[in-house]
């Protein structure tokens, strides 16, 4: 799975996710990536999120929308909200990670799985890629 979340100069957010799914999936299995609110969500009032991991857990929890709702209603920052929802995924036995960008331009990575490939670039000059 690959994904991106962005805030532009006009203050607008957007999120995108694309995947091949899981090796050996059967019966037309679909994970969270194409399920709006689970693996992908964007709302200028909350945040932009893209997720990767055990899709079934992300769908049941509604991870991407849950993060945005915590930020919008609970006034949590991106790292606090993403960590809290990732903890819930982990508590249920799921694994994976999320990336998020807030309306103020702050961003967060949160994950509990090996091999998490991620990168960040900002108008402030950040430009870095990481592999967990």
């Amino acid at each position: 799975t690959v994904g991106a979340a962005a805030k532009d100069m006009h203050g607008n957010l957007a999120a995108a996710t694309s995947t091949g799914g899981l090796t050996g999936k059967r019966w037309g299995r679909v994970g969270d990536s194409p399920v709006i609110g689970a693996g992908t969500y964007a709302d200028n009032r909350g945040c932009a999120v893209s997720a990767t991991g055990s899709g079934e857990f992300y769908i049941r929890i509604g991870v991407a929308h849950e993060i945005c709702a915590r930020m919008r209603f609970g006034k949590e920052d991106a790292q606090t909200a993403t960590d809290a929802v990732q903890d819930e995924v982990k508590a249920l036995g799921g694994a994976g990670g999320v990336i998020a960008v807030a309306p103020d331009g702050t961003s967060a990575f949160s994950f509990n799985t090996p091999g998490m490939y991620r990168g960040r670039a900002t108008s402030g000059g950040d430009f870095a890629v990481h592999i967990y």
Partner: protein, 173 residues
């Protein structure tokens, strides 16, 4: 004043940093950097977040080193079935596709669903037909195949026979 942010992920591959060859590590980092550059170019020129996330994801879909588009994993039946979604934070417009097998960039198909249809999600052959009718690049299904992903499927199938299944209850749907 410029004030933009872009974050990307290349998935949670089975290979953590410690298990990769230096060459593979370098290739993955280069792939991520190329995706960042593509999105950054849009944002730094005052472009929309929506265009930036599509541009970044398309680069990773075209890179066989990531599980999306070219280089995606295989289903049990040995097919690459591709899923994607995109969402615009301005108005909560959203588009998603599942089970694509012929559209080169699934994220662009998802965007076409969002912008050129009254729907949110389209799936399987109908989604490919919709993408084709909207002029999106079509490829032979074999375009998505890599030997590495094919072997991963064979290994997984072998494991199910010997019982050394890495997911005992095969929770794949």
């Amino acid at each position: 004043m410029q004030n933009w942010t872009l974050v990307i992920h290349g998935g949670a591959g089975a290979m953590a940093r410690g298990t990769m060859t230096p060459e593979r590590d370098a290739a993955q980092r280069a792939g991520l950097a190329a995706a960042l550059e593509a999105g950054k170019a849009v944002l730094a020129s005052g472009g929309a977040a929506l265009d930036a996330v599509e541009a970044a994801v398309k680069v990773l879909e075209d890179n066989p080193g990531f599980n999306a588009g070219r280089g995606a994993v295989f289903t049990y039946e040995g097919v690459n079935e591709l899923d994607a979604a995109i969402m615009d934070g301005r108005n909560r417009a959203a588009g998603a596709v599942t089970g694509l097998t012929r559209t080169r960039n699934p994220i662009s198909a998802a965007r076409a669903v969002m912008e050129k249809s009254p729907h949110v999600m389209l799936q399987a052959p109908g989604a490919d037909r919709f993408a084709r009718e909207r002029g999106l690049d079509q490829v032979d299904p074999s375009y998505f195949r890599t030997e590495e992903r094919w072997q991963q499927l064979q290994t997984m199938k072998e494991n199910t026979k010997t019982g050394a299944v890495f997911d005992a209850d095969m929770k794949y749907g």
